[in-house]
Symmetry: C2
Subunit: 512 residues, 2 copies
């Protein structure tokens, strides 16, 4: 299709010049409204104002400009349909072959203000209507819905002497519907947040491509990461490109890091499960203890700190092979040392803005949607049900273990000592198996003395006494678990008979 | 806001009568176009045609009817703004207080035809433009974007003497943007499929609420299931309501069932991991073998068959406690027997239409998107690298084990004998640990003889010989694994030294 008439109506006015120059050279008639008209004239090109074109003046402070049959018939008429051509002629309407639009900056407004009226005013009505009309009629009309498409339009027009191919227009049509769909996804998500109503009858999610990844979980699967904001979520400051599995692990790591007391915690992740977690005022000790939980698995893992790392820690990190380091800032010396390892992926989480209210997973045609498990623990969540009472230190250790347990895949059993994890059994169909795996892990890497205050946490209740028995026989002195088994009483009796501390939590923490 | 003028333009004309009756009683002026006008007149109510209202006739076979400043200014004017009122008056425009629309049935058209032109013709332009305009101006205008909202509008108008409250209008505004966003999500997804282009610069997903679930993975998390189609994905024919965790497990089960040779396979799932899989021409044997892999974990699990189950199987199933049964149809006797257990959730997968091309997961502000791991295995995917060659039977057994392994969480090791799984170690940070867990499971529930042809599959390569060594020492005769370790040669040598069959696959199958 040769382009004779173009309608240009853009909020974002950048990069117009080159396109206008080309259109001018191709003798394309330009129609434009309000600010765009002024911009085009200022750049030195001829242009007809929309109000002049339609004969209707712009009203309601710009709310109604382009919603006019002369515009929309010009866009929507089928060029190969005699009736359409006749009706256009009769009404003195004119075919519009190219529509260049972009919309009021709804997302950007959200970032700038919380003023609801201002936000609502930035919902574009006319722009999406034109983009959708042009996209529907892509067989004849070219639609540009984003300034980042100017270059390919220029290329296409130059290549084809002022024409565009149908394939080209079809691709632009897809992109236009993605623009309008994402736009209304943003608007509806704003309304959802505004009314605290996430579980609506319909639900939309959208994302902007951040990066096509080398592949997905495996090399034969394509993969990509999208962001629901218009910005990258992860601030990588060094190392090789992040892989799909890296990203998955990074999110698991950050989730745990965020849940730990601030400025104290180290988390190690392998295959999206924790394999070492420790909190300590002595940051180097917190790192060493996290590694010592399972030094074999820590190899090639992902380490996340919820504090700023210093030279000492960087030197320690350089002794082992890790894939990714996540830290809440880096001291200058630290970053210099870490960057010596060229491949080491380094993530600065200091300015990363996390929002994790709703999680979804999509398989087949279904979307499973749930609130994230981000409930904070306080002591009122827990009730000591054994005769023996925990010291404050032990209670805190139990809560620490229970918190880590919620992030390990179910069924999960976590063993801890002095605010460090020393054994994890996770992802098993039987809770007893998870107990045994956690104990085996502890025995493999820890020197345990009889008097050690080892605690155990379980993400859901023990269906039988056997798991509790196995733990206590292996040296566990205190257990925390959600209640709910018909054998709870039996388990309390066992705890009392063996002098074990037993705490029931109000909440269960399955994770799959 | 008192409603004086309503614009009604609906494709789906059902259930209008009661609403029209009420509006008529409230002396609301009606404006309407084309088919809706005829329908309203036929129902016996007064109504003004849009073309008569605007003075512009409907053109381009209905493509341009409502895209007119008189309509959109009537919708968009701020009632409390003097300039707006003045401009309306000057142009002889009239305020429109209620917009009742629904759109051309794009999704329904997709179901009925593959004719691209017909599909494109069913993209609505005018309807979404009006819905969006009314939704933007919800402070003054009421927007109905779906017939399922008529009842609540009737209720509201009756309650408030022909007025609507701002809260009510705001909720409808949210729902209108959800309608338009989902609509363009459908359109863009159609274009994506049509051009086989899933990894676009922007990406939209949408779903229709199927059900608010009792809760998410845990009782303190709200949960819901949405379908990207307008229909339920799961055909439940009996038992208690499905929980979030049930659904998650059901999808895992179906994924494996679909990958097995047709009409032969039984799959048992617990905590979204397989804990028993078997294929056999003798269906009852396939069930018994699947259970015998881990009868303890099968308790309370989910069983999925990729065949139609009969009376014998139903009787066998009634002996054990299971949460969900999924079957490709049920013989009459079978369903009668199973329904005796009132709580047992029964799913008929016979007519379930699965589409699993793309998987997503959403956390923080990121969406991780990947092609599903649905690559089919053929013998050309595999290469025997040991001196010892497998028999055809053993080769098939290895492929069976490798296929199940891809569905267990990484690191995963699966042991099999005679097309039944006899040990699974999954979700571990160390491959050696997974080997040990799989072996422990096998030893616990199987009687193993030295001459048994036990095979092992690994979802990724062995980094060291130790895992292979452990397997062979426990009676494994043949191993299948992706290659890629720097110690591959060492492993081949170990296989040859011990007379073990070793097969390398071209593909890795991590799953997290």
């Amino acid at each position: 299709m040769k382009i004779n008439t173009a309608l240009i109506s853009v909020y974002d006015k950048k990069n117009l010049k080159q396109l206008l120059k080309l259109l001018n050279g191709l003798k394309v008639n330009l129609i434009s409204s309000g600010g765009t008209y002024k911009k085009i004239r200022k750049l030195g090109f001829k242009c007809q104002e929309i109000s002049n074109f339609t004969g209707s003046s712009e009203i309601l402070e710009g709310r109604v400009k382009t919603l006019h049959p002369k515009i929309h018939a010009g866009i929507l008429s089928k060029r190969n349909n005699k009736l359409h051509s006749k009706q256009l002629k009769k009404n003195k309407y004119k075919e519009i072959d190219l529509v260049v639009v972009n919309f009021y900056p709804f997302e950007e407004t959200l970032k700038k203000t919380k003023n609801h009226t201002k936000i609502i005013e930035n919902i574009d009505i006319g722009g999406p209507a034109m983009a959708r009309a042009a996209a529907k009629n892509y067989k004849f009309v070219t639609v540009i819905s984003n300034p980042n498409q100017y270059n390919k339009l220029i290329h296409e027009l130059k290549k084809n002497n002022g024409k565009t191919s149908e394939n080209f227009r079809k691709q632009l049509s897809l992109e236009a519907f993605l623009e309008t769909g994402c736009y209304d996804s943003s608007v509806s998500n704003y309304f959802c947040r505004n009314s605290n109503n996430y579980f609506t009858k319909k639900k939309i999610f959208h994302g902007n491509l951040i990066e096509n990844l080398r592949y997905g979980e495996n090399p034969h699967q394509k993969g990509a990461i999208y962001s629901s904001k218009n910005e990258e979520n992860i601030n990588q400051i060094g190392g090789k490109k992040l892989s799909y599995n890296n990203l998955n692990d990074i999110y698991s790591a950050i989730l745990i890091s965020k849940s730990l007391p601030n400025n104290l915690g180290t988390v190690i992740i392998k295959h999206s499960n924790p394999c070492g977690v420790s909190i300590d005022k002595n940051k180097l000790l917190s790192l060493k203890n996290a590694i010592s939980c399972d030094p074999v698995s820590a190899y090639g893992g992902i380490i996340s700190f919820n504090f700023k790392i210093n030279k000492k820690i960087a030197l320690e990190l350089n002794k082992i092979f890790i894939e990714v380091i996540i830290s809440k800032g880096f001291e200058k010396d630290a970053i210099r040392i870490l960057k010596k390892k060229k491949n080491l992926r380094i993530i600065d989480s200091k300015h990363m803005n996390f929002n994790n209210e709703i999680n979804t997973s999509q398989i087949f045609n279904s979307i499973l949607l749930q609130e994230a498990d981000i409930k904070k623990f306080t002591k009122s969540n827990f009730k000591v049900v054994s005769k023996k009472q925990p010291t404050k230190k032990l209670f805190n250790n139990l809560i620490f273990a229970f918190n880590v347990c919620r992030f390990a895949k179910s069924n999960a059993i976590v063993l801890a000592k002095d605010n460090s994890i020393i054994g994890i059994g996770s992802g098993q169909p039987s809770r007893l198996d998870s107990c045994k795996i956690a104990i085996d892990k502890m025995r493999k890497f820890q020197k345990i003395n009889y008097e050690d205050e080892i605690v155990a946490a379980s993400d859901a209740f023990f269906p039988f006494v056997d798991g509790v028995e196995t733990l206590v026989q292996s040296g566990v002195k205190a257990i925390i678990q959600p209640s709910g088994s018909i054998r709870d009483k039996e388990i309390i009796k066992f705890a009392n008979d063996t002098g074990t501390i037993l705490i029931f939590s109000k909440t269960r923490h399955f994770k799959h």
